[in-house]
Subunit: 431 residues, 2 copies
């Protein structure tokens, strides 16, 4: 799907020619109610961060070919369709800096069926866009979770749109929610499995982590047995492997405010380890606020690793545990029975030393966040400490964006771009 | 695509069983970020126009089967997927009256991975919905133009979503814009043509009118010739016939504030009449404000019909000419060179007697409108005069909704439902 805003979320980038940055590009959808011949296009005025570019300057790329305005005006064989984007290229030596920019656009379009005095019509649009720098070579790997697009996926964006977005911002890993993103779960048809692998190829993405659930209180009158829990986990392990994922995060039901996992977890995992080894998929329980690293739950997982000596059970860290400020804008409503503020809203501020201690057991990091502002400051998560800690320890797994802030339409994808701009800038500066 | 609002625009209707209205239905998307087992659903509270229905009362239809809440809680083989709707049926003898209703919904969902005290989570949503009565048998036919969905089509809704919407509100005719809605226009591939006919079958829709353009000032340095104009019209006639349409409205460039058509119109049409007859497609010029019926342009078309004796050139009336109030909220921006208010915004208030006079020549009516309020009053168009006039004259063509008000997301589809509720109520009351 195209974005509702005429200025599209994808495609905002600097243009590199012969090794030099010569300008920037963005993408528009046709703002009129019909597609039109290219000869009716009559310029596009651009204001970027207050700097005005005259309407005859930008180049247009329509239906795969690039035109000057004069070429468009004289054209006979090109159209800007209603369902096709146009790429606007603005010459600007050095391009735009990493970060958030303000774009204002006026598209001029001649409409012969309007009275001549008003037939040169205008369509205005404004948006912010984020220039994301390339990821540094080696070391940390940068991915995104479909969770970041909650509310927008299947409404404003297809699953393919999400993958296109992730590739467009220069990420290389895609994390999904098994029960969320697999049509016909738990038994997708073979055609969809082929489609999925085709999408990974098309967008150059690596399947990273697969989120699963073990709903221990699936029924109100009894808890799941170890048998039932293991069947669920093994179903997801097989499905994850079939789709190319290399880890599965089972989210077990919990028994306390501190998210102690239901006691079946250990039996369920233990009897699934052989299958995980066969499939070469790592089972990763999630360390998620309000559970810190120094906690009986985390210690239980570490003890399990040491006792079994397995290579197929490791930790997944959700970076919400490092928050130094509370996230006051909830992305969801939670019913609180006695007026108590849920513990998971209190910032845990887990120290970096605790992270360093368990890092040898950490397979995957969900880069949970709620807001990165216009100056690329994260309002809650101390990335300036986390990234250097990971780099100094030589950790080289995936950082997978998990946006969990306000669910305004299209906000998640914009915030993910901001977060990647921030994380990659930090990673590059220490390079 | 699903709607961004948890309460969906489609599927709000009364339920008829054994000839009696027993309740009403609406459709929800899964409000959580993952699909869930049916047993985790824990009720849905509904408030309709202030009347509260307890959360255990509504029935759920998920994956094609209908459940009570207790059946859902005990279920083992049903899921509410993220990409699948659920139908909620509320028992209410007599159902809901024609018109606009306020719906508030609370979905209860158990999430075992939340601390037990807060694991019964809530998702709230609110929306207005429109109950549209059936169209009366015989007489006027009720359709919709894709133009009504401008801005939302290809962004929030696919073309198929639009057809599903049109069918859902009980309309039977679909009007399209050739240059807008045909992928690869002017040469769609054969597979798409098959898809189109499949969609018409699936949604029980008749292809009505096909909007085309003859851009007489296609290039800035010269006007189209009659040859070029005829080639364009004939291309669209062939494409329209291939897609099952029975009329084509060519929008010629104009030469005045009163929309006098470019003088090539007559030659272009005359040399296309044989093809129109072969294809049995009626060419319909549009009578559109600020051109009234008593005007040299309209008279020119009538003279042409009388002179040629053709059955394949008739009038298309845009109901904006009957407006009694100005439409002050523009749906698009128009550049006005000297501060003058464009003539097309001044209400023409064409009298019904003028309509009656040309009605024998009228093939199609575009039911243009900008706002129908919560009490089903159109703020600009006097439908209370138009509908009886058409019925008394025994006119039995298509009234095709053309929403042209504010382009807020999803507003067009809601307004079309309101307009159909209004028009069908008027048509039925006169029976």
């Amino acid at each position: 799907m195209l974005d509702h805003n005429v200025i599209q979320g994808r495609g905002f980038r600097n243009v590199v020619q012969d090794g030099r940055v010569t300008g920037f590009q963005f993408v528009l959808r046709q703002p009129n109610y019909r597609g039109t011949a290219g000869s009716l296009l009559d310029g596009v005025g651009v204001v970027v961060d207050g700097e005005r570019i005259p309407d005859h300057v930008p180049l247009w790329t329509v239906q795969g070919r690039t035109y000057t305005l004069d070429e468009l005006r004289a054209s006979t064989d090109v159209r800007w369709q209603l369902d096709e984007p146009a790429v606007i290229t603005v010459p600007k030596p050095g391009g735009l800096a990493t970060g958030v920019h303000r774009l204002e656009v006026v598209v001029y379009l001649r409409r012969p069926y309007f009275p001549p005095a008003v037939s040169r019509t205008t369509f205005t649009a404004a948006a912010t866009g984020v220039i994301v720098p390339p990821a540094p070579e080696g070391g940390l790997k940068f991915g995104v979770s479909t969770y970041s697009y909650t509310g927008d996926i299947y409404t404003l964006m297809t699953l393919e749109d999400v993958l296109a977005d992730v590739a467009d911002l220069g990420a290389t890993g895609i994390e999904i929610l098994g029960e969320g993103n697999i049509p016909g779960y738990p038994a997708p048809d073979a055609a969809w499995v082929d489609t999925w692998h085709g999408l990974l190829d098309r967008y150059g993405l690596t399947a990273t982590n697969y989120g699963s659930w073990i709903d221990t209180t699936m029924w109100r009158d009894r808890d799941l047995t170890v048998d039932e829990g293991a069947a669920q986990l093994q179903l997801d392990l097989r499905l994850a492997a079939q789709l190319g994922f290399t880890s599965v995060r089972p989210k077990f039901g919990v028994t306390s405010w501190e998210l102690d996992p239901h006691p079946i977890w250990e039996g369920v995992v233990e009897r699934s380890l052989d299958l995980a080894a066969d499939l070469d998929v790592v089972i990763c329980p999630e360390i998620h606020a309000p559970t810190p690293i120094k906690h009986r739950a985390t210690q239980g997982y570490v003890d399990f690793i040491e006792r079994t000596g397995t290579k197929h059970f490791k930790l997944l860290i959700d970076t919400g545990i490092f928050n130094t400020e509370p996230v006051l804008e909830l992305s969801e409503e939670i019913e609180v029975e006695d007026g108590e503020i849920p513990m998971h809203l209190r910032p845990l501020a887990v120290p970096m030393a605790d992270l360093v201690e368990v890092l040898p057991h950490v397979h995957f990091i969900q880069a949970k966040f709620a807001e990165v502002d216009d100056d690329l400051n994260d309002l809650h998560v101390p990335w300036g400490q986390i990234i250097p800690t990971l780099q100094e320890a030589g950790w080289s797994g995936w950082l997978s964006s998990e946006y969990e802030g306000r669910r305004d339409p299209y906000r998640g994808r914009d915030q993910v771009r901001r977060q990647h701009a921030l994380l990659r800038s930090l990673a590059t500066s220490r390079g």
